[in-house]
Symmetry: C2
Subunit: 287 residues, 2 copies
């Protein structure tokens, strides 16, 4: 577990002096990782022993252990306390985007519901047919991605971003099928309808969405993904990266669950692709 979550958890129970130390960590992090215990103590207006105790309280061996933990967490975890890009020049924008993406992954990792993912993977790997639904630029990409990943293992999958088709497919699905749907906002009413319909025939329904959202409420298995977008309206990507990572995890688990079948299918696809190009075997599966 990392320091910042511990800090969040403990902050209320901290004494006034310790709170001053915590504040420095949160506000002037750069200073904190570089300072000696004495400097830090001075800045917080406490004595060095208080700092040592503070570190121990947060689960560290010693002050230097604490600094290492801090630095380690911070590379990724800290940045979300400093929200916006410094300027619109390419270097800063790139840095900001990449940091946000790494953060999204970091937060995702922390909040993953592994049990749900495992269950979802298990159902997917046994499905007679898989329907992957999602609409709007983001979720439809996820639906396509699911198709793209799963068909390679020899599974039967189709993706749709068309509400009408989704409803018809949901109505036609059987109890041995799986419907997996993505909704970033959790408020895709049509998807809710499709899920509801599918559950009437006891089709397994899996939702990748925000927990406690309308979509989450109607799905049998919910893989919660709770990340809020940064306030910059131009940029919805980091959440998508998190979704992609979840799909990746799901697909990998499915692959492991059905190893032999998947390997055969993959080999065939690969041969097909290589024949179609110039025989370079090192290329990707697909482009």
């Amino acid at each position: 577990m990392d320091i910042f979550s511990t800090l969040q958890d403990e902050k209320a129970r901290l004494s006034p002096s310790e709170n001053r130390i915590a504040d420095i960590l949160l506000n002037d992090f750069e200073f904190a990782v570089n300072a000696s215990i004495i400097e830090l103590a001075e800045k917080a207006d406490v004595s060095p022993p208080t700092v040592t105790r503070f570190c121990r309280r947060l689960g560290c061996e010693s002050f230097s252990d604490f600094k290492v933990q801090l630095a380690r967490t911070a590379y990724v975890g800290m940045r979300y306390l400093k929200p916006e890009p410094k300027s619109t020049n390419p270097g800063d924008v790139a840095q900001d985007i990449i940091t946000k993406a790494q953060n999204a992954l970091f937060l995702l990792h922390r909040s993953l519901d592994l049990a749900a993912i495992e269950l979802a993977a298990e159902r997917l790997s046994r499905a007679d047919m898989i329907y992957a639904f999602g609409s709007g630029g983001n979720s439809s990409m996820i639906a396509n991605e699911l198709q793209n990943r799963l068909f390679r293992f020899g599974l039967h999958v189709t993706a749709s971003s068309d509400h009408g088709m989704q409803l018809m497919m949901a109505a036609a699905a059987k109890s041995t099928d799986v419907l997996i749907g993505s909704s970033f906002s959790g408020r895709n009413g049509e998807l809710v309808r499709a899920f509801t319909l599918a559950r009437e025939s006891r089709v397994t329904t899996i939702a990748l969405t925000q927990s406690n959202s309308p979509v989450a409420q109607v799905a049998e298995i919910v893989v919660p993904i709770d990340l809020q977008e940064g306030s910059n309206i131009f940029r919805p990507t980091s959440t998508r990266i998190a979704y992609l990572a979840v799909v990746d995890i799901l697909a990998s688990l499915v692959a492991y669950a059905i190893q032999p079948k998947a390997a055969v299918a993959l080999r065939r696809i690969k041969q097909q692709l290589v024949a179609h190009r110039d025989g370079d075997d090192r290329q990707l599966l697909g482009d």
Copy 2:
């Protein structure tokens, strides 16, 4: 700049003793970040002053500064030295995938050609019409993503993953248009043809691909993305995440270049979406 690249650069010039220290960092990193200078010196079979000198050589103030730098870089940067997932249980798979994704972003950030990106963004923002091409599950997703991002700014874009259409569109494009194509492998022969055709009419051509690949060779502007996939054939995702991040950067720079126009278009799209749902304004742009 981070310690690991410095280490890579310097390693050849290091003395034998210093090399032993470097080896410990690379092989037993966990030990290294937690050890005191004395422990580290002992393990490397050198004296503490040698360690101090080693740290200075790598550009750090002191040993403790060095440890902080190390820990900071390591959270993301270090992991790629330990390649494969430990097991196929969900926790390990998730950890492995997320680490790889973060690494892909980390390596991408290091190798970004900002000048090329800036130039590409500038051309995109002035284009009369943008054609986004890509085939195969991965690149076609990127093409769609480009469309999805750019149309929101009021630009004219179309994406295609169909070779025939691509050729026709490339033939029809004018010199005020921009053709942007993605190829993970760089060996998409049809895309090469489309690029070649487009350049005959002096259409601006932008490639997101591996440097020095066939696709890169025919494009006017190359945004190089050079990451090799891990050896696990089940998993091509982390490269895609890097491509997505590049698209994100490009799209953001385009947005900044054409601010007012983009903001208006976005507002309209947002109203449309909100009206269509249940009026919750906090949701994403699209699902």
